[in-house]
């Protein structure tokens, strides 16, 4: 008797949308099992991980602050991923957005003009899109692999930020420490709910979910992207321009990542630091996938990912668990999702060895 993996004749459509739920459920069950093995009361652990972080207004605000960049970037990446354009460089595009937007804030530091904040966002969008245009250009012109190029540019962007923060943009009153001046009030996003850090940037992310939904599911370009992703030959036969798809696919990610970068520095951070993102650009890839590249799904999966981050901190505080627990949960979620997706497309059959022998040539 041996196991044999066979492709399913017709992959289930419903299961494609159920698989994230199954993965989340399996993650929970495994999590509870791990908590029990660690000698923690699973109910307490569950409470500490998933309820405690969001049991007050401040916590809910934090959840949305954390989910906001993930949601925003997730939407942008999904547009590219639909067309099989693999932008792994959102972290760098976010950083570039923060550099361009932060540059405006630093240059006009002290000014009270109303136009500073919009100016920062425009500059941030330009920065993010500029950084995303490099892999797009190289792919079109030289057929360079956009995964490698965009991935490598992440490191370049972070080093450019480091250069600026250690050099010309260093706070002159900062005893030589690598950080910029604190932005003035006019360069900061307003806080929406008193007593939380919930800033207006979250609204941009919500808007992006709406725009992304229209763009991906209700526009002709969205349709073209999808066809290009599914069958490139069919797309070119239909006259869709693949070059255009590459530009749109990468620039959409650059645009949203650039906005996310400015939202971070003008929202919760309030200055430029050597590192402006704890890996949002990478986590957003998981978010886009768990959300099935669907804006509604991305909205939910970004909240789930954010909750895992907050839960990891809360678990350290009330359960004495190490911080690695966050990574374990995120890893399990992705692992189960990939496993579920695999089983949507393939089935495992038990075959007797004699039957197998018969099939061999």
């Amino acid at each position: 008797m041996v196991f044999k993996i066979e492709p399913r004749p017709v992959p289930s459509r419903q299961m494609k949308y159920f698989s994230p739920l199954i993965a989340a459920l399996l993650m929970l069950v495994s999590g509870l099992l791990i908590f029990t093995l660690l000698g923690k009361n699973p109910v307490n652990a569950f409470y500490a991980f998933f309820i405690e972080p969001v049991n007050d207004f401040y916590g809910i605000g934090e959840l949305f602050i954390k989910a906001s960049p993930l949601m925003l970037i997730g939407i942008g990446l999904a547009i590219g991923f639909k067309a099989n354009i693999w932008n792994i460089g959102a972290e760098g595009q976010l950083t570039m957005g923060a550099i361009f937007g932060g540059g405006v804030a630093i240059y006009f530091n002290g000014s009270t003009s109303f136009f500073i904040l919009p100016g920062m966002f425009l500059a941030g969008i330009a920065g993010g899109m500029f950084w995303a245009s490099i892999p797009a250009f190289l792919k079109i012109r030289y057929n360079a692999n956009e995964i490698l190029v965009s991935l490598m540019l992440n490191y370049v962007a972070v080093l450019i930020l480091s250069l600026l923060i250690h050099g010309p943009w260093k706070d002159p009153q900062g005893y030589g420490f690598p950080q910029s001046v604190l932005f003035s009030e006019s360069a900061l996003l307003p806080v929406m709910v008193e007593g939380t850090r919930l800033h207006a940037g979250v609204l941009i992310s919500f808007a992006a979910v709406g725009v992304g939904w229209i763009f991906l599911l209700r526009s002709f370009i969205g349709y073209q992207l999808q066809v290009s992703g599914l069958a490139i030959n069919a797309a070119s036969y239909a006259g869709f321009k693949y070059k255009k798809m590459i530009w749109i696919g990468l620039l959409a990610g650059g645009l949203t990542a650039g906005i996310a970068g400015v939202s971070e520095i003008s929202g919760p951070i309030g200055q430029l630091l050597p590192s402006v993102s704890p890996g949002y650009g990478f986590a957003a890839i998981i978010v886009a996938y768990v959300g099935r590249l669907h804006p509604g799904g991305i909205f939910l999966s970004s909240l789930l990912m954010a909750l895992l981050y907050l839960g990891g901190e809360s678990a350290q505080m009330s359960l004495d668990l190490p911080s690695a627990v966050t990574g374990v949960f995120q890893g399990m979620l992705l692992f189960y999702l990939l496993a579920a997706d695999f089983l949507i497309h393939f089935q495992i059959r038990l075959k007797s060895t004699s039957a197998l022998k018969g099939t061999r040539p």
Binding site: G167, Y175, G176, F177, Q179, V276, S314, M317, A324
Partner: protein, 363 residues
């Protein structure tokens, strides 16, 4: 009537249990000072955060059941830190140590919201009514290790793997160089910047590059044990930093500059318990027991050990300052006249190399 009796009793009893449980937990928790620690990296078994955690354990040992401590590790500097610090304050931690420079502004923001909570921020420069700062005079240890390196080198070339060109790091390089030059005027110090506090891969590459250039004593101002391990493999000497790293380089490590936070943390916790705490900027060194050398290797000759012990004593009693003139800048210009020494303000803003260091500070 009878059927109503049971549920009501159950309700009553469970209510009582909750009330009693609530009160008893309050009674037990009342006198304990809850102390929170925020760490920038995982604790691991050597390095910056590891030393802080030793300090936390010392507080627990010294103050026993008067305190309870908690740490949150791997907290990124930036937007995350503020939430973590706030959560600790909200959960009733009345004394919170934030142990990385990047926590400075988040600590101050949270301190405004929790005026009754006391915050202590490490390596920063901004104070508030309920925020104190603390740091140790790393450079004192650097000077001493420089003496050992200057005596032990055969090639007269020392290597330094450094993280970021900020005053704290530059001060260490200068002190190390001055220490080495005090016993060996021909010494040259080569610096490689890795632009990261913790990157074992880059630290290893930098160490290998230095050794290839003829350096035979390596030291570092980064968090990993990679430089000491590389020295061990290549058969050269190393001087550790943060922690005693002899485990990673039993033959290579000559000594290490280590930070000792336990006494300071215990002192602060006592002050908070007694209500005598005041916001101050503490900069403690050998005198305060905040800087110690790891046990010196048997390979170091006895007269050198003697010299180091003597210098250590004179730094501790204040009769000697590592930045005592004559000191020349890298370009040969006189910086400090003979008999004078640099002030704390000069040290805090240090952004130049002294004579004997090769290369320039990245701008």
């Amino acid at each position: 009537m009878k059927q109503n009796w049971l549920p009501r009793t159950v309700l009553f009893i469970s209510a009582m249990v909750f009330i009693v449980a609530g009160f008893s937990s309050m009674a037990f928790g009342k006198d304990k000072l809850k102390i929170g620690f925020v760490y920038v990296s995982p604790i691991g078994d050597a390095g910056w955060t590891y030393q802080h955690d030793l300090g936390r354990l010392a507080v627990e040992k010294n103050l026993g059941d008067k305190v309870s401590t908690k740490f949150i590790e791997s907290v990124p500097e930036g937007a995350e830190a503020e939430r973590v610090i706030r959560d600790l304050a909200k959960s009733g931690y009345k004394l919170i140590f934030t142990t990385s420079f990047g926590y400075m502004n988040p600590t101050l923001k949270v301190a405004k919201l929790f005026p009754k909570t006391i915050f202590e921020h490490s390596t920063g420069y901004k104070l508030a009514k309920n925020v104190g700062t603390y740091m140790c005079r790393f450079y004192e240890g650097r000077y001493l290790t420089g003496i050992i390196a200057g005596k032990m080198t055969k090639s007269n070339q020392l290597g330094y793997v450094a993280a970021f060109p900020i005053p704290e790091v530059i001060r260490g390089i200068n002190a190390f160089t001055l220490g080495a030059k005090s016993v060996n005027p021909d010494i040259r110090v080569k610096v490689i910047w890795v632009n990261s506090w913790f990157d074992p891969g880059k630290e290893r590459e930098a160490s290998e590059a230095l050794i290839d250039q003829g350096v035979d004593v390596i030291t570092h101002h980064t968090d990993s044990t990679a430089p000491v391990m590389t020295a061990e493999e290549k058969g050269v000497y190393a001087i550790g930093y943060h922690s005693d790293m002899s485990k990673y380089g039993p033959n290579a490590q000559l000594t290490a500059t280590t930070h000792v936070w336990g006494d300071y943390y215990t002192k602060v916790a006592r002050q908070v318990l007694d209500g005598t705490w005041k916001s101050t900027a503490v900069w403690g060194g050998i005198k305060d027991g905040m800087i110690k050398l790891a046990p010196i290797s048997k390979k170091v000759p006895a007269d050198v050990v003697e010299l180091v012990k003597k210098t250590q004593k004179s730094i501790a009693d204040g009769s000697f300052h590592p930045f005592t003139g004559p000191i020349r800048r890298q370009d040969g210009k006189l910086l400090v006249k003979a008999g004078k020494h640099l002030t704390d303000k000069d040290l805090l803003g240090m952004n130049y190399y002294v004579e004997g260091i090769i290369g320039s500070i990245p701008k």
